[in-house]
């Protein structure tokens, strides 16, 4: 009797709605409330963080200059085969475009952009624009008049550059950031060796980050282990020595390292006084200085997670291994170390991720040979005002960071990220 009741009639809430539906509704309501609480922050980050980054990403392929200034020319070049000289109509279009651009004062925009791909284009375009409208002699086409003005207008490669920029987006900046260019056959190729720059900058960024991470591990792991084995009262006291620099402004620390490392600084003074060296060592404004300061800044990011992992490992494991006859070193290597790998690797990965985006320390403590990708992003934004290159380098840096961050989240889980 009771069995058939529970089988056939679903349980209902007080108002007769099936309980299952009711619970479902309740759950939906809770989820909706939770989402409403997250919404303000999500919108805020969208506007102050995600949209700006999206702007940066689009800027890396944005190519408005040539299309807007040489509108008719790029249209007329669409059917062009790219091998022989363009038709007279194209020259006519260029003539009209330049005349309009001269009136609107937009010639320099297109000239700057074209000059990036073929040096000399800036002066060519500006010189031509000044002479517009050309007055062809009797029996001369506009094409002849252009070539008479400057023979480069009879050169197919210059026209190829214009044609290549006939679209409002371009892979040019991204390719340049990887030392690639569009070859004569349209396929990407490496630029000549003496013009390569960015691959080595990316390489240097990764290389320096790698060494900073290794040094942080080499100094941080033993210290974290030592702190984890000390009595709590003592380790808390010593932990302050780790946390204090962690909380101190990065600029304060860079300034202090300059004081310590400069040629008449404290470190050199001590070394000279001890008679270890005869002449002051070059410690600041080179790679040594950058390494020292970066390791100093990032060391707590290895020590803190390593310490919290090591604190959670009962010391009895090691004692058991030793009492069972293991050498203390073997016990450490076989029992203790494997338990710390995950936590320590996560810390190291975080240090590496932070390293590849570093800007301040190399900028203040390094020579031009120590500048990493971030520096060139800032350089192209502020100094040469080449936003395309800044955006392209930034996008590649962002890509690298996000790949590593994805790896980090899989390793640690973004939800389990904690501070200190």
């Amino acid at each position: 009797m009771s069995e058939s009741f529970s089988m056939n009639t679903p349980l209902t809430a007080a108002d007769g709605v099936p309980l299952k539906t009711r619970l479902q509704q309740q759950r939906r309501m809770r989820q909706l409330k939770a989402l409403l609480l997250v919404l303000p922050l999500a919108l805020f980050l969208l506007l102050t963080f995600l949209v700006p980054i999206a702007t940066l990403l689009t800027r890396s392929v944005d190519n408005p200059e040539v299309v807007s200034v040489l509108r008719e020319t790029t249209q007329a070049l669409k059917p062009w085969d790219g091998k022989s000289l363009p038709a007279v109509a194209v020259y006519d279009a260029l003539s009209r475009d330049l005349q309009r651009a001269q009136a609107e004062k937009t010639v320099p925009d297109a000239a700057k952009r074209l000059n990036m791909e073929q040096s000399g284009f800036r002066s060519l375009l500006q010189k031509t624009a000044r002479k517009i409208p050309l007055a062809p002699e009797a029996g001369q086409s506009t094409r002849d008049a252009f070539i008479a003005l400057d023979e480069r207008w009879g050169d197919v490669s210059h026209w190829q550059v214009i044609a290549r920029n006939g679209s409002s987006w371009t892979p040019y900046y991204l390719m340049s950031s990887l030392d690639l260019r569009q070859g004569a056959d349209g396929k990407p190729e490496l630029v000549p060796e003496d013009e390569r720059a960015f691959l080595s900058i990316f390489g240097r960024t990764l290389w320096m980050s790698f060494w900073v991470t290794v040094w942080c591990l080499a100094l941080g792991y033993p210290l974290a282990y030592w702190l984890a084995t000390l009595p709590t009262r003592k380790s808390n006291l010593l932990m302050i020595l780790v946390l204090l620099p962690f909380w101190t402004s990065v600029l304060v620390r860079v300034a202090s390292w300059i004081v310590l490392l400069q040629s008449e600084g404290l470190v050199n003074g001590a070394l000279l006084w001890l008679g270890i060296v005869d002449a002051p060592l070059e410690l600041a404004f080179n790679r040594t200085g950058v390494y020292i300061a970066m390791v100093h800044i990032l060391l707590p990011f290895v020590i803190l997670p390593a310490y919290s992992v090591m604190k959670s490992i009962p010391p009895s494991y090691m004692r058991a291994a030793i009492s069972l006859g293991d050498h203390p070193f073997a016990a450490f290597w076989k029992i203790y170390f494997p338990q710390t790998i995950a936590g320590v690797a996560a810390g190291a990965l975080l240090v590496f991720i932070m390293c590849i985006g570093y800007y301040i320390t190399p900028a203040l403590l390094g020579s031009p040979q120590e500048q990493m990708v971030s520096y060139y992003v800032a350089f192209y934004t502020n100094v040469t005002i080449n936003w395309g290159m800044a955006a392209a380098l930034g996008s590649l840096l962002l890509l690298a960071t996000l790949l590593l961050y994805g790896l980090y989240s899989r390793l640690v889980g973004a939800n389990r990220l904690s501070l200190g």
């Binding site: 609480l37 980050l45 010593l238 204090l244 909380w247 600029l251 304060v252 300034a255 004081v259 939800n415």
Partner: protein
């Protein structure tokens, strides 16, 4: 500790290991200790030995137009950014921990990402986006981006505190007749306050120490303390920087002590609940 039966090799190893770690600790604090005495030097260069003591660099720091304006700007931007980050971050953390919903871990990753994305990218992106809107060279844009950079810290610390939060306390409060707002104010807030405050301190420190975004977004009127130090280090490194550094070190000691005190409080609350 070293047992009395330790072999000579173990003894040597023990002291070597200890020496190494003490050296690493010295490496960590030495820069902070090295710069403080120089701020009291009368010399106009940042070099030892100190020949004559003087407070002239503190006088310069607290009276010159450049430094006082920088100090003032930092105390405008950082509290405002902290306020925004803490309010929005706390709400979001409450939402994120209160219920399971699809895409939660993705949302969490996005909320945390300002901590990981290189600051230069945030700076250039904000500059490219905000310049056409007229948000560069004023406080508003700077405060907004600084707040975005501080958000992850608030979300992380508050979520961590909420994980130890006993939801039954809210039910009990409702059962005793309190409305949702009263419950939040009288029950939830006091319990998660340590987490909220330490998140706010992290957010404050982030903005207070931020220089890269400031380089791109701030005009000459918005130069903050780190920005002023940046140009100071780059152009002429005078002991006024040492004075500024000493003030900042004292400030970070105060932050650290507050945070440790809060941690202790949170610990006590957690043990009380059990």
């Amino acid at each position: 500790m070293l047992p009395s039966y330790a072999s000579p090799v173990e003894r040597v190893w023990f002291y070597l290991f200890r020496g190494f770690n003490i050296l690493v600790l010295v490496f960590l604090v030495s820069p902070l200790l090295a710069i403080i005495p120089l701020s009291f030097s009368a010399d106009s260069f940042l070099v030892y030995p100190i020949k004559e003591l003087s407070l002239r660099w503190y006088e310069e720091f607290f009276t010159s137009g450049e430094w006082t304006r920088a100090l003032m700007n930092s105390f405008i931007v950082a509290p405002a950014a902290t306020l925004i980050a803490t309010a929005l971050g706390t709400l979001a953390a409450v939402g994120l921990t209160s219920s399971e919903f699809p895409g939660k871990s993705l949302i969490m990753s996005i909320l945390i990402s300002p901590m990981v994305v290189p600051v230069v990218i945030v700076g250039v992106g904000a500059y490219l986006f905000m310049a056409p809107l007229g948000l560069t060279n004023n406080y508003f844009g700077l405060i907004l981006v600084h707040a975005a950079l501080g958000v992850p810290f608030v979300v992380i610390t508050v979520s961590a505190t909420l994980k130890g939060f006993n939801v039954n306390l809210m039910k009990a409060s409702a059962n005793l007749g309190a409305g949702p707002l009263t419950t939040f104010r009288r029950v939830v807030m006091p319990l998660i306050a340590p987490g909220v405050i330490s998140g706010a301190l992290f957010a404050f420190a982030t903005s207070f120490d931020e220089v890269v975004v400031t380089l791109f977004l701030a005009g000459p009127e918005q130069v903050t303390l780190p920005r002023q130090m940046f140009s100071g280090i780059k152009e002429n490194i005078s002991p006024a920087i040492a004075a500024a550094a000493t003030v900042l070190i004292l400030f970070s000691i105060a932050l650290l002590l507050t945070l440790e005190w809060l941690r202790g409080r949170a610990e006590r609350i957690r043990t009380l609940q059990r």
